[in-house]
Symmetry: C2
Subunit: 293 residues, 2 copies
């Protein structure tokens, strides 16, 4: 584990927070490590608990306002964290003057995948003198450890399924398409693109209910992994208690995540849900992916 | 185009027919070319129009009966064609004695993807002295020709989308996962695995309705292509009028298929639906996939 990024003479860590529980956990971890925190909460997405930290609410397009707020608080280090449930409607965004400086780079980035946009935002921020750090550096305990994490042990069939799904998720990750896959009976049955993990798992449950896929009991594996070329400072994959619930509804046996490169949000709740429902969670250090497990 | 496989002294072409319109079209094309036809129709899946040809209804697991029927009609050449909407419930199949001979090979094949099972069925049939031919050999007019097939011309943005989706479909095809992908705005938003093309397109429509994806008007491309390593005698991909309708419901601009390796079922209806709805259909000869179009 790395040391949380150090606070230079009490300068706050700026947490740009989108949706989900992870931004709150990152803010809590940074504060627990003695770091001052200033939260920029994305309107309509961010966790209400973030109101407990010094904060400001910002909208898409207000990059100029974001810079002013950061500078007013003396922050130089920024974490970009959280999920975005809806793609911003760029036609309805009112862009402020500061944002105009970023636009040429961002528009160029939008020709590529999602992470290219975010990657270009990171470059834009760094060009302006800010340092973008990863949530995994600020809150290393959030990241999956290698080996057995929770629930029952994996069977040989689970390992076979995980190997297939890891290979598939790697292939679509290399193309910047997605970070998740489901395999059952050593066959990949669902790949995640824009729909997100929960929708992919809902589809697996539907295919089983409709008889398009057949198996009895709990069988098959959800894999989540970072894209091989991924900058972990943006769009690091995550699982949480809801992922476990969706895996149970899909009658899968468990979850394999890439150790060190996937976050476990609300870890205590996630581990408890896995134990309660008999769902394994395992952090692959590369051995399952390589067929050596 | 190749010459339809020749009828040796009036020996019938045996068409093992699963679901969809294509088996009927293959039977019609073979009969139109002067070939005798004998149809083995899969119970619960096959087109009612096949009753117009000499036929027998068979169930999963009746390979012994299938062999007897083929031999009784003097057939040596077999086409395996059509879609299977539901995976057979292997626990409820009553397997006949003839099928037992195929089982070791088929069970071994089930460790791999769908086409491995079918590929092993082909090998099993060939070991027994039958010749398995492709629908594209019997009915070459069913296969997509290169270039513009129907509807409006593609724009540069469409070509960019098609290139992304072709690359994605190739990657998942290499892993034996699927044959379809959708890209919008040069970003792959959906990948087809076990759910099938219609379900994938329904998902794209849903994501747009929910605001997870945003675009106005008709934009984006559905790609269907064969797996690079695919034996075209089994599981050749196909589009038809329903594909065009689903593409319209998803607000996509059109369809790009791999020329020579994807079938167009009910071609007249498909082309008419494309023209009526302003949906392009284009057969890529490799130039879009290579970024040379």
């Amino acid at each position: 584990m790395t040391t949380p990024s150090g606070g230079i003479s009490g300068e706050p860590l700026v947490i740009f927070a989108a949706g989900g529980a992870v931004p709150f956990e990152v803010a809590t971890a940074a504060a627990a490590a003695g770091r001052k925190v200033f939260v920029l909460a994305l309107e309509g997405e961010s966790d209400a608990r973030l109101a407990g930290f010094p904060n400001a609410i910002v909208k898409w397009g207000q990059i100029g306002r974001v810079e002013k707020l950061i500078d007013a608080h003396g922050g130089r280090e920024i974490v970009l964290i959280g999920s975005v449930s809806k793609r911003p409607d760029f036609s309805s965004i009112s862009v402020d003057l500061g944002a105009l400086r970023y636009l040429p780079r961002l528009i160029k980035g939008m020709i590529g995948g999602d992470d290219t946009v975010l990657g270009n935002l990171v470059k834009g921020l760094e060009d302006r003198g800010y340092r973008v750090v990863g949530a995994h550096e600020v809150a290393p305990d959030l990241v999956a450890s290698p080996g057995h994490v929770a629930g029952p042990r994996m069977t040989d069939a689970d390992v076979l399924d995980a190997g297939q799904a890891l290979a598939a998720a790697r292939a679509i990750g290399l193309l910047d398409i997605g970070q998740g896959a489901v395999a059952v009976g050593a066959r990949v049955v669902a790949l995640e693109a824009a729909e997100g993990t929960d929708a992919m798992l809902g589809r697996v449950a539907d295919m089983r209910a409709e008889g398009r896929l057949r198996w009895s009991g709990r069988r098959g594996v959800l894999v989540k992994r970072a894209k091989p070329q991924q900058d972990l400072r943006v769009d690091m994959p995550a699982i949480g208690p809801k992922t476990v619930e969706a895996v149970v509804r899909a009658s899968l046996a468990g979850i394999v995540i890439e150790a060190g490169r996937v976050m476990i949000a609300e870890r205590a709740e996630t581990v408890a849900a896995a134990a309660r429902t008999g769902t394994f969670i395992y952090g692959d250090d590369g051995r399952i992916a390589a067929g050596k497990q």
